[in-house]
Point group: D2
């Protein structure tokens, strides 16, 4: 299991008239979480794209437990439970400064050849970079 | 079962560098869908808020089947399967001009007293407005 | 002078905790306005991109006069004062249901060759399509 | 003159199909910049709101010089040239890792009584907190 924590500060524009973070902004927070998890293993999602791999999301689930507010410093905990094949799965927990669980969720993405639009396996260099975290 | 179809045109700012609608914009499309479903029964979500009711989302699921592109005219089909109690559930299908299913999803919201932040039942006038669609 | 009116309904996710449309969402509304103006002359911005032309924005000005609220049906009036050369200029007025001026603004975009990233003139077929509106 | 530098990492969802940061996302970056400038003087915009002051934006200007890309680590330089009265003005420069100027802009906001919606002067405690930076 590979876990990465990163922090974001809630922006004013991410709130809605209810005074809380709009439910539709959590997928953006999740994206930040998985980007930083990949960086933690020494690669970047950007490099994957430069190598002709794109990773469209095929499923998303979110449970919203408590509201998040403007200017909150949120921790995005991103968890990879197993090494990716053609698909890659991330779980997320959003936690506020009081250690309260704001939301949790899950996304599945598919490694895709950017040109042919065909699914493909995760590249070997990504698996090698991830393996040390799964020992 | 109460179904409402509404259309939106994909905005440039809703796409991402993959050239497709960013996965995090679908919750916004779903919001448009449920807003228009409520309008179809003769009420507005805005009126509910004016009456001191807010409806935070507590869960969201999305399956992404095909990409949506800039300038696509998408149909948001919103489906209410049963009358709401304290919770209200909406299902969604996003369909493109070629009748292809782009994405489908589901949200659950909770009727909440805006002042006390306590859950409450759907107001009677909403149930009365919805009932004709469930006969 | 070529003017195009189009309408949008304010989405919940476009408001902020002040209870009004977030100031950063108006550029998105302007984009809808100029997209529809181009459609009105019989072309689409999407076709321009398919022909290898992109149009990055190089300047933006907005004056905010009155707040816009959730569920407001806004008219986006987009005005082209002169035929484009290498640059194309659009002016905008956002007007609410009570005919009140919410905001006005201006953007300048540059016709750019998508491959070379070099500025270029507006394509002839766009000028021909626009000319009837300037007689 | 009071200057504050803060950094943000460009999110995937902030790019558009041109492969660059959507022009409409810069107002969000500017908001982060002015929020951090206020934090630097020992206060928070959030505290101002808790004290019944809201600060709607009345004007925005942006010049876009170069594109910003996904995963770029951008510096938002925010500059306050003079102490606020009823209005407060911020200037911004967005700079990339190669010290290139991506964009520059300006916003004016108005101190407003949240209840009466009337303009008012900047609160004394804000002026006191800012004054040391203007000596």
């Amino acid at each position: 299991m590979f876990t990465s924590d990163t922090q974001i500060r809630v922006r004013y524009g991410e709130t809605d008239k209810m005074g809380i973070v709009y439910y539709g902004n959590f997928p953006l927070y999740f994206e930040v979480g998985r980007t930083e998890l990949i960086r933690k293993c020494g690669l970047t999602y950007r490099k994957l794209e430069d190598d002709g791999i794109v990773m469209p999301v095929i499923s998303l689930n979110i449970k919203y437990h408590r509201p998040a507010y403007y200017d909150n410093l949120l921790t995005i905990r991103t968890i990879m439970r197993e090494l990716p094949g053609v698909r890659i799965n991330f779980r997320y927990e959003i936690i506020n400064e009081n250690k309260e669980l704001i939301a949790e969720g899950e996304t599945t993405l598919v490694f895709t050849n950017a040109k042919t639009k065909r699914p493909r396996k995760a590249p070997d260099y990504l698996l090698e970079a991830l393996r040390p975290f799964f020992v």
